[in-house]
Symmetry: C2
Subunit: 343 residues, 2 copies
């Protein structure tokens, strides 16, 4: 491998001078500069970034830790991040933590040891101390996907309260009065927020709030299936179901179909996340689409701002992006007694 030494020898100057040329130091004679540049080109020399880091130059990578790139939401977010950071000359280190704390900790350790100075993360639960540690070591942080009030970090997320309110309003507007909700675990900010929006919509429409219609589970397909089965046994059965993410929607869809019911004739189904986890659902499901690419883009911009120190560390930014309701075939007016009589 060719080093700065080889370049210096070929150009007939010292290593210091080569370094100066490479770093745009003005105290170099024009002729010397050209000799050095010629030698660099000749030898196809690129400085090793890890050697520069030894002298305190910051890393040229930033990290992105998400739960799963193969989830189209995160794939698009990733692309948004990458477009911005690559434009500014950074490389992107990607980690899929699957919302697991242990796996996430592995990544964080590796980030620390690799000298990376900035990270965007969709964090797992209970990782406050891990994140604090990073922040203490001077790593710039932007948290995405959730509302996550960490004082050292910026935060970009979609308004879950407003989003589920939109979804619920959509159903209420169609005439639904008995709407089931399936969400994530108790204590999960997102899971709770999405219920809050639902309650808000119900309150605004002066509808009664029946607690048995609200099911807390886990953001998984299996959980969506089970909780939905439970909702379907209620009497009277809800005429619509709102799921708090795409996996829950996939499970719920499965449960509804398995129960011999038809969407949207017997029951309407709407969900957060515009994600084709079940291909058959993709084109039909009424969803609240999240601005995925945009979220990555904004997060990356905030991150670089922080890393370049153009904003005091205490100035915490919180960007709340709006979701967009995409009404599709899975939601319709509820079938009323009159309809049944007519049908």
């Amino acid at each position: 491998m060719v080093t700065i030494h080889d370049v210096a020898r070929l150009a007939g100057v010292s290593e210091s001078t080569v370094s100066r040329v490479l770093n745009g130091n003005p105290h170099v004679d024009g002729a010397t500069r050209e000799k050095v540049q010629a030698a660099v080109a000749e030898l196809d020399y690129t400085p090793r970034s890890y050697a520069r880091m030894m002298k305190g130059k910051p890393s040229d990578s930033v990290a992105l830790i998400i739960s799963d790139v193969s989830n189209p939401f995160f794939a698009s977010l990733t692309r948004g991040v990458e477009d911005v950071v690559q434009r500014e000359g950074y490389s992107l280190v990607l980690g899929n933590a699957d919302r697991g704390e242990a796996k996430q900790r592995q990544y964080l350790d590796r980030i620390l040891s690799s000298g990376i100075r900035g990270m965007i993360i969709a964090p797992a639960q209970n990782t406050l101390t891990d994140l604090k540690r990073l922040a203490k070591d001077g790593v710039s942080l932007v948290i995405v996907d959730w509302r996550y009030p960490l004082p050292y970090a910026d935060n970009v997320y979609v308004d879950s309260v407003d989003g589920s309110r939109q979804l619920a309003n959509h159903l209420i507007g169609m005439g639904h009065r008995r709407i089931g909700v399936i969400t994530g675990p108790h204590g999960d900010v997102t899971a709770e927020d999405r219920v809050t929006g639902y309650r808000l919509a119900l309150g605004e429409a002066d509808l009664s709030q029946d607690e048995e219609l609200i099911r807390f589970g886990h953001f998984t397909t299996d959980s969506g299936y089970e909780e939905c089965l439970h909702l379907l046994t209620l009497d009277p059965r809800p005429t619509a179901i709102l799921t708090a993410n795409n996996r829950l929607a996939a499970g719920a869809h499965h449960a509804i179909v398995n129960s011999g019911l038809s969407i949207p004739r017997d029951i309407s189904l709407v969900s957060f996340d515009d994600v084709p986890f079940v291909p058959t659902l993709a084109s039909d499901l009424t969803v609240l689409a999240q601005p995925d690419y945009e979220m990555g883009k904004v997060a990356a911009e905030l991150l670089l701002e922080r890393m370049h120190g153009s904003r005091p560390g205490k100035d915490r930014r919180e960007v709340v992006l709006p979701g967009r309701l995409m009404p599709r075939a899975s939601s319709a007016r509820p079938t009323t007694a009159a309809d049944v009589a007519a049908g």
Copy 2:
């Protein structure tokens, strides 16, 4: 930041000894080892990986260069790669090169300067010399997505010839005799291979090969639209169209619908790639699905094998994965004169 020096001081030993403990060198007394480990834990010390690289230790990152993560095919491939490399203790550096040579070269330069020893790449056109340069510098290479006969690199791809043969056979089996093809540019291996499979299927069925049914364009939605419009003007019009990738399919779909024709009644549409570029298409399009995750997994395994030197550099591996035909609603028996009379 805490360094090995701090650990040494706290443990009351030399830096050499700390290093030995960290690297599992057996020539360390049990008691000393424990003292060191205690100090490491106490100070929460992690060695800087860039400092170790200075002494010739290999990088703990590998690179993955693809055209676009937000393409679900690549997203899933990425996940496959990441799962394998992370399990083996590596980090993944991701680059989206958009099939652009310039952007790709940027990434390759950065890889070189960062000391990364292994890369998986879905290369842009005309990048042979760039890749050779990497190989010359000792970077292990695995090429994915294409058949790409670079002597220094392993290669994992889906059998395009067989895949398009399957698609064409599917149509022929349904009774289609006049099948249009829209593919990528002349000279593109994949574009050509996908036509080859089509020709093969036609030949095997003793069908005449009409050259005007074969359209070379660019792997873009716009190109799919234009070329499809052209095919629709032919007389007699083809009863089915085979597109060589998902973007072409999206364009062709648009063209067909815009022309007032209906799928599959007036014309069947089948395509390579199981990718919902147009959501409405996702659940209906007959496709040849590529084993995306698997491809990433296999590529990563080959890469690590190479990097760990468990296989001589001259032993080039080529893995050809089979595609899977997914018959769906967009393909059907052609409407015959009899049908028209009946209808």
